[in-house]
Symmetry: C2
Subunit: 201 residues, 2 copies
């Protein structure tokens, strides 16, 4: 069986990443969505093992000490991280793994596992991103301007990413993600393994 691969998908607030990922996962049991561990207490409606793996601070520190996290970060007093074990298990089962993490996390994973494929979802334009953020109706104008500034800063870290998907329409963005994943499986390192395991020897 062919080993799965890990794909990092990052993108600014409002770019429509959740919608794209939901569409990507529709009817797919060969994809695994990595669920983060966090020390933040569950919010109303959040389920352990579905939205996050909710763990306490000593347990999180133990994971850091054991180098059991692919990446982690502190955000307003809480820790968030990606447990290696579940990612590796899914890849061993032949599943491709999607990590929905930010630029800082992508940098950490790049350092630990350079073979991880990093994809940035970009908006078709800043105006469109602003329009989408306003459309959500969840943020104040000040917050939206802050988010836009952050998105522009993130795009400066472009060299961390292997691919840019422009989310103009969800359908095209999903097509591009699927194309990237399939193309990555055609790279020599993976394919030579298959060819050598077969009778091509």
């Amino acid at each position: 069986m062919e080993q799965g691969k890990t794909f990092i998908i990052s993108g600014p607030s409002g770019v429509g990443k959740s919608t794209v990922l939901r569409e990507l996962f529709r009817g797919r049991d060969d994809l695994y969505f990595s669920i983060s561990a966090t020390t933040r207490p569950p919010r109303k409606g959040e389920v352990d093992g579905v939205h996050y793996h909710f763990i306490d601070v000593p347990r999180f520190q133990k994971l850091i000490g054991e180098d059991a996290l692919l990446e982690y970060a502190e955000y307003v007093g809480n820790f968030y991280g990606t447990p290696k074990k579940l990612v590796d298990q899914a890849m061993d089962e032949g599943k491709d793994v999607i990590l929905d993490i930010e630029v800082q996390g992508a940098l950490q994973v790049k350092a630990k596992r350079p073979e991880t494929v990093r994809i940035f979802i970009a908006p078709p334009s800043w105006d469109e991103l602003e329009r989408r953020l306003k459309g959500r109706g969840t943020d104040s104008d000040a917050k939206i301007q802050k988010r836009l500034l952050r998105a522009k800063t993130e795009l400066q870290t472009a060299d961390v990413y292997d691919y840019f998907v422009i989310n103009d329409t969800v359908g095209q963005a999903v097509r591009e993600l699927n194309a990237i994943m399939l193309a990555e499986h055609c790279k020599p390192a993976d394919r030579m393994k298959i060819l050598k395991e077969g009778t091509l020897s």
Copy 2:
């Protein structure tokens, strides 16, 4: 308009490359198949500008002298080469260009234009390749063994290629080629150009 890209597709005799390419081009006017120039006289039924650009030796030598060929080779006394001009023209029209050339040609293009994407179409197994060569009914057993040996040698030049498509079924091979072409258009160099030409500046 987005600039087209050039894709080299190589593969051993009998792997089914022609069938895959015919299927890839079906109904596509955004793809350009590069037609080689040759000094070989046309065979019965061959049309100038369709099967080859038939030119004389002085004209071919002039093209070499002007560095107007992406790659060229001599084969049993005749010259074959890829004219740069038509490739560049198609790319400027936003079309992706397919070059159906061999390993030696791929090496020459890699040296001149490292950004060219190189794809090798491999058989699922040597047994299957032998079966396909026999199925064509055009070659003697000795010739088939020679072709198999050549195919095995070609696979040793794997590091020239960026991708390996295994032609197990034509449908899957075409899906993989399309995925590779779309994924390559999502690479940072291309996408940052679009993002900067847009309002992402």
